[in-house]
């Protein structure tokens, strides 16, 4: 009972510290700092907490970075499950909305760029933030192949690469600022219809 009370009473302060630590980590990454250059000292200073407060929660820098990056990804949207096309648009629209946020863009950059240098960060980021989306997209595409909304010989892995890749492409090389609101829709519709003229 006392323990529960204490932990409850302690939570607000520790939650505030946790938020400050996460915000500081993201700020430093958004300023262009790579994982290799980030230090617990810099994070603690920016967050206005002691290093021990950080270490009480995260055993090492990589764990903290992964948790921080995961907080800025939007949660998976509910999928209506009625139209494969609409569910694909909902999934890709996540990437479109995140592209407008400087921090989410940086997160993606870090996740993409650190893969050779700091395998652990990118693998854990993948598990936390990317894999659930991959799983959801694979399910939607497989459903479409099964129910005839997509062609029976569709290669689901290739389809995922085309759709996800297009969003990565726009995220990296698209116009500055917000991507067009209908981008996810147009990507899905182009992928569905194909480039060839209809016979």
């Amino acid at each position: 009972m006392t323990t529960e009370h204490q932990s409850r009473a302690g939570r607000p302060r520790s939650e505030r510290a946790e938020k400050a630590i996460i915000a500081a980590t993201l700020d430093l990454i958004a300023d262009g700092m790579g994982v290799a250059e980030l230090s617990m000292e810099a994070i603690a200073a920016r967050a206005g907490v002691g290093k021990t407060t950080i270490y009480r929660r995260w055993a090492n820098k990589e764990d903290l970075v992964v948790d921080a990056l995961a907080t800025i990804r939007h949660p998976l949207p509910p999928l209506a499950g009625e139209s494969v096309r609409d569910d694909l648009v909902a999934l890709l629209d996540l990437a479109r909305r995140e592209a407008g946020q400087r921090r989410a863009r940086c997160a993606m950059n870090v996740a993409l760029s650190e893969s050779d240098r700091s395998k652990r960060v990118s693998e854990r980021f993948y598990k936390l933030a990317l894999e659930p989306r991959r799983v959801a997209m694979r399910e939607v595409l497989s459903r479409g192949v099964a129910n005839g909304e997509l062609r029976p010989d569709l290669d689901v892995d290739l389809a995922m690469a085309l759709l996800t890749g297009a969003m990565i492409f726009f995220n990296k090389w698209g116009p500055e600022g917000d991507l067009p609101e209908d981008l996810a829709e147009r990507v899905v519709d182009h992928a569905m219809a194909g480039f060839a003229p209809r016979a």
Copy 2:
């Protein structure tokens, strides 16, 4: 006459130095060093030359990195100009072949990851190594729209994002080692046919 003779005589040694400097730069990048961490000292040491030899050729680190990265990209293949599909396959196959090379993968990572931190490197790398491919791909797609090999309402920018994005996707998250030899072909054929069943 004398000048010409001198420059000819001088070339072999300076070419050797240039090659060693470029190789050293690429080795350090392949070891996971970011542009921010690379130093002219480290490059000189690795190449076995003096720093002045480097500065005689490159005014700064960024110029050297861009030139080094550009050397590992394959040149544009000749395009037969007969079938849009075949020309697209030839262009995407460049990315497939480069993905098998650790150094080219690293180059791509650097170009992708440094864009916020070191705009100059990524902009110049883009101009040197990516833009010619973009221009070629845009020409092939536009030709297809004009001659009926592609559908008349194709959005060429979107088509480029789907095709190029798919290759970036496999480059980043594809299986370790070489990508399947027919990957470019399959990406193009899937994009051409679309995901929807034929009416």
